[in-house]
């Protein structure tokens, strides 16, 4: 009786040790993926395609992070959430980085897929208007939120134009022949065409105002404390954009499930048109997706100062961005 009890004790201890060891050595991964959040600046759409593609195809996991992409919408407070550290990453356009830094919010751009900004003004084909500088004598739906609208209003006189708020619908444009509306080149014109209009999209970038779009931002604090996480996300994001521009089907189905307003067909069009805007007519090697230049940031700051969106001297170009985390620069570590 006595010896059996002793054997029972030993067995119990051994079993406990085995249990503890198996908990400590948890399967294949020695440590869990770092969870991070990415706050979008709008509802999930084609302009976020590469970031979703990386998630759908497991690129973030391969880089060692577990990402949660948070949908946005109008007035989504991306900059505030990233600057305060509430979320690790966010998306905005380059002008958003500049207004943020002017307000003292320490955000930095680390990856910029869109070399050509998708912003456009949509006019009717029959209006005969060929460029934005020629817009006159109509109603123009323009939001006062983004910098480009203030730049255009500062730069062009727009004689006879009544500016009204833009609420995301192309219906007023379709109904009124003397109407123009802001948009993204792969969204509003496509929607208008579906409703029976014959729109022409005039790219804002052609006026010379061309901020990088769908820019990935993080906080200065994050860059200092967790550069490896930034490198991991940027590496995964670039892979995601390469995938999205090659074959967007699976990703688009995922985006559609998150945002039923955008059907797969319009997302496919978005992915197709994004090729030109990201790769600039195949002129850029895919390994350079996300790259940024000091000259372009400098020019953008000057343009925004001229348009009185920020005061001169408030923001300096080198502090707005860093390309250190792009895979081509070699600063980030290796990885599959």
């Amino acid at each position: 009786m006595h010896s059996t009890r002793r054997l029972n004790h030993i067995a119990l201890i051994l079993l406990s040790l085995v249990a503890l060891l198996s908990i400590a050595c948890d399967g294949s991964k020695p440590e869990a993926d770092r969870p991070v959040q990415l706050a979008l600046n709008w509802f999930p759409e084609a302009e976020h395609g590469g970031y979703y593609a990386a998630q759908v195809h497991g690129d973030y996991s391969r880089s060692g992070v577990e990402i949660e992409i948070l949908g946005g919408g109008p007035d989504a407070p991306v900059v505030k959430r990233v600057a305060s550290g509430e979320v690790e990453f966010g998306l905005t356009n380059a002008d958003g980085v500049i207004t943020a830094r002017a307000a003292g919010a320490p955000v930095v751009a680390v990856f910029a897929p869109y070399q050509i900004n998708p912003r456009c003004i949509v006019v009717h084909e029959h209006s005969g208007i060929q460029q934005i500088s020629d817009i006159e004598n109509l109603t123009l739906a323009l939001s006062q939120r983004p910098a480009f609208s203030h730049y255009l209003r500062h730069r062009y006189s727009f004689p006879g134009v009544t500016i009204v708020p833009y609420h995301g619908s192309v219906a007023p444009f379709v109904d009124d022949p003397a109407y123009a509306v802001q948009g993204y080149v792969f969204s509003e014109p496509v929607l208008a065409r579906r409703l029976g209009a014959t729109p022409r999209a005039l790219l804002v970038a052609e006026t010379g105002f061309n901020p990088y779009a769908s820019v990935l931002i993080t906080s200065e604090a994050r860059l200092a404390s967790e550069p490896q996480i930034v490198a991991a996300v940027v590496t995964a994001a670039q892979r995601g954009w390469i995938r999205y521009l090659e074959d967007s089907h699976r990703t688009n189905q995922h985006i559609h499930s998150l945002n039923p307003e955008m059907d797969v067909e319009i997302l496919e069009i978005g992915a197709e048109m994004s090729r030109e805007l990201v790769l600039v007519g195949e002129g850029m090697p895919i390994t350079q997706i996300g790259d940024m230049s000091l000259d372009r940031w400098q020019l953008l700051i000057e343009q925004m100062e001229q348009a009185q969106i920020v005061k001169p001297g408030q923001v300096s170009a080198p502090t707005c961005f860093t390309t250190t985390y792009l895979p081509i620069s070699g600063a980030s570590g290796g990885g599959s």
């Binding site: 305060s84 307000a103 003292g104 006062q144 939120r145 910098a147 134009v161 500016i163 708020p165 609420h167």
Partner: protein
């Protein structure tokens, strides 16, 4: 004679001190507390600016703020006056026929609860963008309290008074203008005090949806723009100006309230 005047003067002074000092003292405490909170929590100006940053923003953008608040005020005053007049006549209609009241009251409630984002496209279609559309939104938002309070005042006549008029063979018209309307005045003024604040909100919200033309902008426009561009101290300045406008309206209506009811109480 002299003694009486001195006493009057001192009494007036005390009255004014009693009116203005408590809110001013509270304001001072609130501002000091606000600054302390910001300092203690180390809040950045782009998240929650302290009174110093907001004052700077007011000073820097004073011209724009004054222009914006005057445009918003115009729309709010027009919307409020329209809602007062229309609300009065609708309430009179309701008071004259229980059948009409029962049929149409739900639509009055609808006006109160409908989200402006849903009616804005309709307003733009009928009235267009600009001041007209904004006044329309302010009108819609201000209307219901006038209708509700005035109707209550017109229909809550005590039976003895009703009987008195019936005894003297008063016509419907006489009953309306000599009994019901005078009886409803305090309730109408209560409705006005509620609606004047709402009319400011209505003018701001109206601007979100119907907007102004190319060069004019009110507080609603500025609020959206400053929020989008992380100009948080400026945003707070806009909010303060809109609050100030609401308080000013309320002060004016309350003063009118007191003046009218003072004569009223005296007559009774």
């Amino acid at each position: 004679m002299n003694q009486k005047n001195h006493g009057r003067g001192a009494e007036d002074l005390r009255h004014w001190c009693g009116l203005t000092l408590p809110p001013l003292l509270t304001l001072g405490i609130v501002v000091a507390g606000w600054q302390m909170l910001v300092d203690l929590l180390g809040l950045q100006p782009y998240i929650l600016p302290g009174p110093v940053h907001v004052s700077e923003a007011i000073a820097t953008n004073l011209d724009s703020l004054i222009r914006a608040v005057s445009l918003t005020a115009q729309a709010a005053i027009a919307g409020f006056l329209l809602s007062f007049v229309a609300g009065f006549f609708i309430a009179v209609l309701f008071s004259q026929s229980a059948w009409v009241e029962r049929s149409l009251y739900p639509y009055a409630i609808f006006l109160q609860t409908v989200p402006i984002v849903a009616v804005a496209p309709l307003i733009v279609m009928w009235i267009g963008h600009g001041l007209g559309g904004i006044i329309a939104v302010s009108f819609i938002i201000s209307l219901f309290p006038i209708i509700a309070n005035t109707t209550a005042g017109l229909t809550s006549i005590s039976p003895p008074l009703d009987d008195l008029f019936a005894l003297h063979d008063a016509s419907r018209w006489q009953r309306l203008w000599k009994l019901q309307v005078p009886h409803a005045v305090p309730d109408m003024l209560t409705g006005a005090r509620i609606s004047c604040g709402l009319s400011v909100i209505g003018a701001i919200v109206g601007e979100f949806f119907t907007g102004y033309g190319t060069t004019d902008f009110g507080l609603g426009y500025l609020i959206i723009q400053t929020n989008a561009m992380t100009k948080t101290p400026y945003l707070f300045a806009c909010v303060l100006f809109s609050t100030g406008l609401g308080l000013l309206f309320f002060g004016v209506v309350s003063t009118l309230n007191r003046l009218i009811l003072r004569r009223w109480a005296a007559a009774r």
